[in-house]
Amino acid sequence: MRIVVNEIRKLFSVKVILLLLLVSFFVYQQFIMFEFKHFPNGRPLLDDFRATQKMLVDYGESMDSKEFQDFKEIKEQRIAEASKYLKSQEEVVAAGIDTYEEFRNMDLENEKLAALHSKIIFEDYVDVFWEIQAREGIIDRYEHPERFNQHELTHKQNARMDELVENGSTKAIFTDMVFDNYNALIRYVAILIFLNIMIILMPLYIRDKRNRVQLLQYTSKTGRNLFSQKLVTGISAAMIVITAQLAFFFFMYRGNDTSMFFPLSVNSIFNFFVSWYDLTFFQYMVLTVLCVYLLGIVLVLVGAWISSISPNYMTSVGLHVPLAFLLFGTGTTYLVQNLTTIYLNPYLVPISFVIVLVLSSLLFMWRYRKEKVKNI
């Protein structure tokens, strides 16, 4: 244990911590902050989000037909408000428009009318007009659940879709905005975490090997077992980094104010994502976090292997390039995002994890065996 602590301390030198902070700062600024600052990203998404939030407050987790009637009525009220607003606007009345219906069906080819339209919507940002549009969108989706099942799907996928419609999961007041936003975020965070792990573990073996400290290490009581102790070190360091990064991320994520969506099913009609399992948004989040940890362990195994075979840092960094490419691209797309999606085989993710874990462990084990009998 003391050995591992010592090794961890060696990895987290002040220089490296500073480097990690710098990298994290810029990755946050460049990629992550955007999803925080611009959530929901402009209009009409903002109005969509507000309407959804109000639905949640008014109707609870899902909307039955009575509540849906109410929802529709609110829309009618808003239309009345909009008409009232239009009547109060002299230019509009002058142009012969005094109801919302007329406003909607206005001839936008006519330049004068188009200018009026864009003034109300885009310059004055009159909320009620945006809200009506958002509500219409939601009503449209709710009234046409059959679209949910419109893709060309296999029998199994279709059955799953039908099942979801039947058990009412599709009626959850969830929204794709929240889901897509989280998915985009967790991917960036995962990439940042993997980047951090790579930076930290780069010197794991190389440093002592190049430094000739290895001579002393391998003749001490611990001896060549240090090789596996260093793996424990790597995994611990990775866990520290993952936990710290995730803690910070979820602290920041609170600002997106999505907690009311946590207990809702992700299989909602208002979300484009369909899962093989009856997951709530919170469960889905837990699943992504779990996968980040697992991928982190795989990365440690492969990274440790690279560090132990590379004669110098150039080789090590060079070997990390294709690894990063695979991990940041394919890895995050299939093993962090879109988990349990109906469009992929349900066994793909677990089998992939088993394969990468076994392969990377074998790689490391093989190296460890060789190290045991190596002439130093």
Partner: protein, 294 residues
Amino acid sequence: MLIVEDVTKNFGQFNALKNINLEFNNGVYGLLAPNGAGKTTLIKMLTTLLFPTSGSIRYDGEDIIKMDEKYREIIGYLPQEFGYYKNYSPTSYLLYLAALKGIHRKTAVARVEELLKTVALDHVANKKMKKFSGGMIQRVGIAQAMLNDPKILILDEPTAGLDPKERVRFRNLLTNLARDRIVILSTHIVSDVESIANEIIMIKNQEVLYKDTVSNICRKIDGRVYETEVSYEQTEQFRSTYLIFSEKQENGSMYMRFLTEDTSKPEWKMVHPNLEDVFLYIYQDGVLSDDQTA
């Protein structure tokens, strides 16, 4: 008791050591050979860094490779060139190695303090090693080897970088230590071991040539070593006739120490051979190139 039995080590086609048989009891052993003779290979095998191609090394009857950490627990090793972390102080560096050596933390703290005093580094115990001189680093290395109070202390060129005063101190330290442990000292500096080694091991042509006390080894060429004065004109002639051990200018002529099988001449003065003479005598023909070291 440490026994090396029929040990051969090959690196691919290259034969570094063959059929080595040695026995170590408590005391100081000087491993004397020119660079490239296989000293480091032997030492690395004694420290489990290299594995014999054939033969075995046993401690108290047990194979050291099978003993694994039980063996490494009782050895202390100072490599010829060893690594350290520039940003560590000697204290934190020694504590780090103490952890690897499985020394209990509390014991380690006291031990480190004590050892740093022994090697006279207590005044810089918490300074970063970045700015240390070669001699200071070497002393940290010596301290590190003694951390676990080893039963077998193996030192590869330990006096490199030490000044004469430090050398003397170091020799005394070793003599004390050797009372109840095996100390194996590899060096090509004859004076380092001459006075303190109980036995000298000489390796030649990948094999052990001698393993004996200093006096016994010196006896091998007893009666054949002389000193004499030679005039400058005769120097060249003299050099090609006899094996010269040393020469220096004095009073307008050359003062020569040499070895010969010829019968003594009156102007020659017979002297007692020392270890250095034997060394030069043995390795006179085969000056091995350095790059053959493993």
